[in-house]
Every structure is written in structure tokens, then in C-alpha cells.
Symmetry: C2
DNA sequence: TTGTACGCGTTATCAA
DNA sequence: TTGATAACGCGTACAA
């Protein structure tokens, strides 16, 4: 009775409204003036037909842009277990959203044998992995890429954090407190992980690596438990994230160690750790600034403008988790 | 010297290889047999030209599908602060990824004045918000939608959890332990929030609502601090998530209350709370099953097949955070 | 202000 | 096995 239930197209609307296809298009986009009456006729016809508005795929084919940018995150479960990921993502999403761009979060599954997605740009923000199989494909298609604390790929804009310097400053703080033997919990191999470790070793070349794990409470707690149970030989533990540091503090206390009396513990990031009744000594980075800088750079690239590399500052925040080294 | 640096198209490749456009297409898609030699010529020409493979936008326009499904998550920052969100998301991502579909995580910014995205399907998994402005637009376009623990929209498939029954069973457990006066921390207004509260009130019609907050440690801790500081009149606090429950336990202890001696505390979800040295009494749901069911349903809908509604079971897990009610 | 005609890059149909 | 041609749904010069 009412034909095939195929969703109506702009052409259907146009003929129903008795106008040409292009007029109908203009009525929706407003890119050129259309008389109020005609416009209304088109809109009425559209609602009458249940026309859902211009098909985004077709529009994007025509315009060469999809209105979506991807953010490569590695494994979603570990990416989001880290409280430092969220404020940055919020900021990215805020800026891109305001610019009318959708944000496609790409987890590990997307990396496998996924079809290439129609993306206008990519934020490469993978922690804990070094390479990304799909990189070449997108790069070849000319998709602009912003790399956040990652490898230095040609043709991409990088957003970096003073991880090395910051950790070195933190290490000096510990040295000033008389610490000589320190251990460290690192992230999984990655650009920031190496930077932070290098910063630590500027001051403590012999710093012992307890182990590597994601910025995840449970994982860090396991590492710490094994290490501290033996009665630690060190007077301080430097972690590469606050989540790790909080876990180490909790584990140390469980074993009867006083923090910072028996053991100083430091973190990285400067995120809230409300379940800890103690302010961590940490290297504070502005996750929001990182997100803003990333999104801004990507926006410029998408618009065809150049985007310079960015290096964001960090700041040592001395809390109550570090103190003078205990005497041997 | 080498013309406009526009990215080459399949037509460029075809003419460079001396074959027709359709043959070139076939060489890539493999949808019909192509002689090995021709195929090789096409592929060689492609690499010579730097052709990045078929443009996904164009392909999708032609095929009417985009290969991307969206998952509406409300505010990303609260969505991911909840450890219960991740296992479910992992499962969804796993199933969809295996089916060759990309997963577009849509946060709150996407909801504003975002252009409609080219989606083959949508998972509506918003916690803490009741409506979604873009819903009508996608529904009008015929995009299949799976609603997870959400409103009962016509034309959608729903995946639900026995929240009400589960909470009622938990409440009965407390009643059996002699509890008569209980308070509760709820989630923000939402479908599961109402279900769980209703379940609780089946047994404790007078249960006092301490307050509502997301499944977030810091927020729950603030609520608990204010409430418990007054010296609680109740003998048990039922929370709508384990994260909340863990925060309440921590806060109670800080105030010198013994759990469960002075106060029983229960949660919901059954997620690990490693920073707590005590097993929570909680209502366990299989987050993975929820994700699998959701993705499976969506896959069916995308394929044009019907997908029945799903209700997932839960199970009471009695831990060490609940005990006999303290005598008045 | 409105209509005509073409192209975006691909896949599918049909003949050859 | 290959080639010509018509869509897919829309935006936009250009002409009227």
C-alpha cells in the first residue's frame, strides 16, 4: 500500500514538496538562501515522509570528510583502568565535540582485521604498546595523526610531557632527603615509561626495577606484595603512576611498614587518590591541558593547517608520602 | 611534475594497470574470480601509485552499511570510573570486533549538536541519564538499537539484569541476620537504580536513602562521610555498586566503626575490590555475559534478524561485610 | 531564488 | 574472466 519501506531520500522529499533536488538540499543545509515558504514546504514534506535528514555517509563522500576522528587506545580495559586517562579524554572529547566532530574510541579489537574506518584524523594515545598495525594504512590515506607520548613518526604532530625532567626532579627531591637506594615500579614498555625511567636513572643510576605493570591497582599491589614481603633493601619506591604508588603504600602498610617513616613512595600524574588518607608526593601533569593540546593540534591538522609539536610542563608536588631516608 | 597530489582512486589504478574499473575493484574485493596475472598487475599499479585501498566512505555509501556500531555511554568520565563498565565493554568489543565491526564510543559531547554518524547499529548503555536526544534520529533512520538496562523503547531489543530480584534476595539476607533499619546509597536516577531500590523496598519499605551518586569512590565516600559522622541509626547500608560499598566500608572504619560488627555493608556487581581486605557481600552479575548478550543481539539486528529480549540472572554472594545486626 | 547536471569513489548488474 | 554502465545519496558550480 505504501510502497517499499526503504528509508526516504532527499530526492523523495524534493519531489513530494514539488521542488528540485538541489533546492531541497539547500533547505536543509542553509548554504544558500531559500525562500521561507519553499523551505517550509520541504521541511513539511520531510516530516510527512519520515525523512531522517541527509544521509551522513553520502554527505561525507561528497565532502570528503566524515566528521569523525579516531583515538587509538590500545586495550580498552587497561586504558580506562587508569584514572589519568579520563581527564585527558574528557578534554579531547570536549574540544572535538564543540567542533562538531565525533570521537571514535578504537580499542585493540579495531586493530586486528578491522575494515579501515572513515576518519578525518587520529589521536594515537596508546599506552603500553609500541606499534599500531593500521598506522600505515591511515597515514597512506593522508589521515592526519597526533601522537600523544608516543613514538616519533614522521608526518605526525606529537604531544609530549616532560616525563624525564619531571621524574629527575622528583628523584633529586629524594636524594635531598638522603635516599640512596631506590626501587621503581614502571609501566609496561612505552615511550613515557622509558622517559620516566631515564629521568630516575639520571639521579639513581642503580635504581632497581621491581617490575612493570599497567596503571592498575590490583596489578601494582601484586608486584608490591612480592617485593616488599622480602623486607625491602631500599628506602624509597618511585612509581610511574599515582595508582601504582597508592597500591604500594597500601601494601607497605599492610606489611607493617610506615610510610614515609620506613619507606618513601612517590607517584606520577597528580590524580586524586581519595581512598588514601595521605597526599602522595608526585609529579603533576595537567591531563586536561594534554587533552586540550591534543585536540587543538588535531583540529588544526584536520583543517589543513600545520600543528607544531607540543611539550607540556610538569611540576613536583611534595606530599606526605616521602620523607627522610630511614637510617640503615 | 607528477600532477595534483590528490590521493589516487581506484580509477587511477585501473587505468595505470590497463584494466577496467570493475576489474580493479574485483582484484581488491575478491568478490568474483580474477585471473592471477591481472590481479597482480592491479596490485602492482596500486602500490606504485600509493593507492591506499578502497575508500571506506565510498564503499559504505554503495553498500549502505558503515561497519561501525555506536555505543552511547553518557558521560565518558563517569562511565569509565565504574569498574563494572569495563568487562562488559570488553565483551561487546570482542564480539563486534570478531564480526568485523568497529565500535564507536559515544560520550555526552556526541549528544549535543553532533552530526549524525554513519552507524549500522547502536548499543544504548547510558547509566545515569534517562533520555538521549539523538535517539529519534537514529531510530528514524532505521538503525537497530539494543538497550542495556534502560528504558523500554518500542522497536528496540532490551538486555536486562535481574536487578530487582537480586536486591530483594540480598535484602532478605539482611533481614535474616536481624537487620530492621537499613539505609541505601543509590545510583543516579536510572532504570537499574529504580529496580534495585524497588527490590530493597520489597523487604525494607522504610529504607532510608542516604543519597545518590555515580559508581565512583570519591563521590560515595563523601556521601558516606556526611551520613556516618552523625552516628548512623541503621545497622546496615545497602549500596547499588561495589565501588560505593567499598567506599562506605572505608569511611565507616575511618570513623571507628567495625564492619560488619557495628555496620553491615552490601554492594552490587561482584567486581574485585582489591584495595579492601574484606570480601563484600554483593549481588553478582556476569558483566561479560551482559556484554556478550548485548553484542550478539545487536549483531542479529544488524543482519536483519530478530533479536529477543534478554534478562540475565544474578546471584547473591555472601561475604564478610555483612553480619548479624548489632543489638540496639 | 530555483533548477540542471555533474561528480564524489565504489560496488553490482549485466553483457560480452 | 573482463568491461561498460548504472546506481548509492548528496552538494554545488552554473545557468535560468
Amino acid at each position: 500500500m505504501d510502497g517499499p519501506s526503504r528509508t526516504p531520500t532527499l530526492a523523495d522529499v524534493a519531489s513530494a514538496a514539488g521542488v528540485s533536488l538541489s533546492t531541497a538540499s539547500l533547505a536543509f543545509s542553509g548554504n544558500k538562501p531559500v525562500s521561507g515558504a519553499t523551505r517550509q514546504r520541504v521541511l513539511d514534506a520531510a516530516t510527512a515522509l519520515g525523512y531522517p535528514g541527509p544521509n551522513p555517509i553520502a554527505r561525507h563522500l561528497r565532502q570528503g570528510r566524515s566528521g569523525v576522528v579516531g583515538i587509538a587506545l590500545g586495550q580498552l580495559s587497561t586504558a580506562f583502568r587508569d584514572p589519568a586517562a579520563l581527564p585527558m579524554l574528557d578534554a579531547v572529547s570536549e574540544v572535538l565535540g564543540a567542533a562538531g566532530l565525533g570521537l571514535l574510541l578504537m580499542g585493540d579489537s579495531d586493530v586486528h582485521e578491522q575494515p579501515l574506518l572513515p576518519l578525518d584524523g587520529i589521536v594515537y594515545n596508546i599506552c603500553g604498546r609500541e606499534s599500531w598495525p593500521a598506522y600505515d594504512d591511515y597515514a597512506a590515506r593522508g589521515v592526519p595523526i597526533v601522537v600523544v607520548e608516543g613514538p616519533d613518526w614522521p608526518g605526525t604532530t606529537s604531544v609530549d610531557v616532560q616525563s624525564r625532567t619531571g621524574t629527575a626532579v622528583l628523584a633529586r627531591h629524594l636524594a635531598d632527603l638522603g635516599h640512596e637506594r631506590v626501587a621503581t615500579v614502571t609501566l609496561e614498555p612505552s615511550h613515557p615509561q622509558r622517559e620516566r625511567l631515564a629521568g630516575l636513572r639520571e639521579v639513581f643510576p642503580e635504581a632497581e626495577v621491581i617490575g612493570a605493570c599497567p596503571s592498575d591497582t590490583a596489578a601494582a599491589q601484586r608486584l608490591a606484595a612480592d617485593y616488599l614481603a622480602g623486607g625491602p633493601d631500599v628506602t624509597a619506591v618511585v612509581c610511574q603512576s599515582d595508582v601504582q604508588a597508592a597500591a604500594v603504600v597500601a601494601e607497605a602498610r599492610r606489611l607493617g611498614l610506615d610510610v614515609p617513616g620506613d619507606l618513601s613512595v612517590a607517584g606520577f600524574d597528580g590524580v586524586p587518590t581519595p581512598w588514601l588518607d595521605l597526599d602522595l608526593t608526585t609529579v603533576v601533569q595537567s591531563l586536561r591541558d594534554k587533552g586540550l593540546a591534543t585536540a587543538t593540534a588535531l583540529l588544526a591538522l584536520v583543517a589543513g593547517e600545520p600543528a607544531p609539536d607540543v611539550v607540556l610542563p610538569v611540576e613536583l608536588r611534595v606530599g606526605a608520602s616521602t620523607g627522610p631516608a630511614r637510617s640503615a
